[in-house]
């Protein structure tokens, strides 16, 4: 033992640790670099908003593809979520003889939480991924470069209308989700489980507050719309212009949007309802 020369031994663990720290640092730099790029991109997009408002047909086309074409999946999901909530809620409430509060339970859950959150998650999967793929492929096929060389700013012409459409479509879709969800709950609670029709609606009217509940839900969906649309257009614009790069960017859009929505939902809920 005493003859072992430690300084001559290959210091593999040290080397590995240094490499690990180096990678961590590189990852950190890349993260902040991308965050910076994303913020600059957002700034440029917001600067391009007047150009979109001056040509509303660009926005209308995008509202159709981002909003109207997402309608069906949002409505169907809302219906099922409302129906499941009514079933679950009824089973719990009936033990306390409070099944007439079913309308309140369903509507508050949907308007405050599930409406904005599930809509945002579905939106990221359906419209966000489509936006990223479309913009990424436009980049890969040199359409964005082509526009730049025709002296047309792709951020004004392509990005800004898509971003604004996503931002505007989200609260509308969330409202549809909530309305359909409440009807789903009504259908199961009143239609199938026999809850009193009048009690279902009147308790809901009494307990759901326009500002406290509905408006806070709308604020949530506006924030989610902003974030999801930003992530989707940025990932598309920032994608490596190859088929693999676009596919990765599309995945990132869905994953990052979902994480951002769930994280922000906690923060917003804490801010809105934390002191109750």
């Amino acid at each position: 033992m005493s003859t072992t020369c430690w300084s001559c031994q290959p210091r593999r663990p040290v080397k590995h640790m240094l490499e690990w720290i180096r990678q961590l640092g590189r990852g950190g730099f890349e993260f902040f670099e991308k965050l910076g790029r994303g913020n600059l991109f957002l700034l440029k997009t917001l600067v391009g908003m007047p150009a979109v408002l001056a040509r509303p047909h660009l926005l209308i086309v995008q509202l159709l593809s981002v909003g109207v074409l997402s309608f069906l999946i949002i409505a169907v999901s809302g219906l099922f979520v409302g129906m499941v909530l009514a079933l679950q809620g009824y089973n719990t409430l009936v033990d306390f003889g409070a099944e007439e509060s079913l309308g309140v339970v369903v509507s508050l859950s949907i308007v405050r939480e599930l409406g904005p959150v599930v809509t945002a998650l579905l939106f990221a999967g359906r419209a966000g991924s489509a936006l990223t793929a479309e913009i990424g492929l436009m980049k890969a096929t040199e359409q964005l470069s082509g526009m730049e060389m025709m002296a047309v700013d792709p951020i004004h012409r392509v990005i800004a209308p898509r971003f604004l459409a996503g931002f505007l479509a989200m609260p509308l879709l969330a409202a549809i989700f909530s309305a359909v969800g409440i009807y789903g709950g009504f259908f199961v609670g009143v239609g199938l489980l026999g809850v009193d029709d009048g009690a279902f609606w009147s308790q809901m009217q009494d307990k759901v507050d326009l500002y406290e509940d509905v408006l806070n839900g709308v604020i949530k969906s506006l924030v989610f719309g902003f974030v999801c649309a930003w992530i989707a257009v940025f990932e598309g614009y920032d994608a490596t212009p190859t088929s693999e790069g676009v596919s990765r960017a599309t995945t990132r859009t869905v994953v990052h949007s979902a994480l951002a929505v769930l994280g922000l939902d906690f923060v917003l809920t804490a801010l809105m309802f934390g002191d109750n």
């Binding site: 096929t141 040199e142 470069s145 025709m150 002296a151 047309v152 700013d153």
Partner: protein, 281 residues
């Protein structure tokens, strides 16, 4: 290089251009003059940064050193609005055509007119039909880009590039992947449009025969440097071994056929176990 030329004869003047991607030097002190009203071709092996050069001229990339002047304007120093003004006087034909896939042929050609002019619809229609007639695709105006062949897409892109009557057009590998008929049509179109519209054309290509056939002047670039320049005839009669190898498409010469490797015999005599990936076999 082009010292004899007066300033007004030269539309694009590049001096001491340096550009690197990461560690790799793409251009290392390139000097180039692109004469006004002529067809100039920039040739070189694949991966020598020919397309990068077009992007530097168009201001899509910033050089690390040197000067790129177009019509007397220093492109890297232009502000955004000045750069966009200059780009309205430049057309660029991308290798893929870069047509907007959600618009049909007519709308693609009308795109720059709608973006940059307030012309009435009837005039836009006339202009678009004139440009499409020039490239022989007036009858294809209702087709979508996905319904076009590669050659047709490039001709539509050409019609779009001349929509605003630019002073110059840059062609990025216009002949790559074309069948002989499309190739012939493009070769003829580039020359005819250049002469009829008084354009300046810059072609980036490695198709020596086609490019040399319509070029007034040729620059050969490789490894970040200009290896030779002159009219196609001058280059054919050159003494430079590299230029000869490139112009005649010889497989071996200053650019070796073999990638650098240890001597063949030494490599073959190595034990199989020493070869990577074979140790476990």
């Amino acid at each position: 290089m082009a010292d004899a030329k007066t300033k007004s004869d030269v539309l694009v003047s590049i001096r001491g251009l340096c550009f690197a991607r990461g560690e790799r030097m793409i251009f290392d002190g390139v000097d180039m003059d692109i004469p006004r009203g002529k067809v100039t071709t920039i040739m070189g092996p694949s991966g020598t940064g020919k397309t990068t050069l077009l992007r530097l001229i168009g201001g899509q990339l910033q050089p690390h050193a040197g000067s790129v002047q177009v019509d007397g304007l220093e492109v890297p120093r232009l502000g955004r609005s000045e750069l966009y003004e200059l780009r309205q006087r430049m057309g660029m034909l991308f290798q893929s055509g870069a047509l907007l896939t959600d618009l049909n042929v007519f709308e693609n050609v009308a795109f720059p007119l709608r973006e940059h002019t307030d012309l009435p619809e009837s005039m836009i229609r006339d202009l678009v039909l004139m440009k499409l007639q020039a490239v022989g695709l007036r009858g294809a105006r209702a087709l979508m880009p996905s319904e076009l062949s590669g050659g047709m897409a490039r001709r539509v892109a050409l019609a779009r590039a001349i929509a605003l009557d630019p002073m110059m057009i840059m062609y990025d590998e216009p002949f790559t992947g074309q069948d002989p008929i499309s190739m012939g049509a493009l070769v003829q179109l580039i020359r005819l449009l250049n002469d009829a519209l008084g354009l300046t054309s810059v072609i980036v290509s490695h198709d020596v025969k086609e490019a040399a056939a319509i070029s007034d002047y040729v620059y050969l670039i490789s490894e970040g440097k200009v290896m030779g320049h002159g009219t196609p005839e001058q280059l054919r009669g050159t003494d430079s071994e590299w230029v000869k190898q490139f112009m005649q498409g010889l497989p071996d010469g200053p650019v070796p056929f073999h990638y650098p490797a240890p001597p063949y015999v030494d490599d073959l005599l190595e034990l199989p176990a020493a070869a990577p990936g074979e140790a476990h076999a």
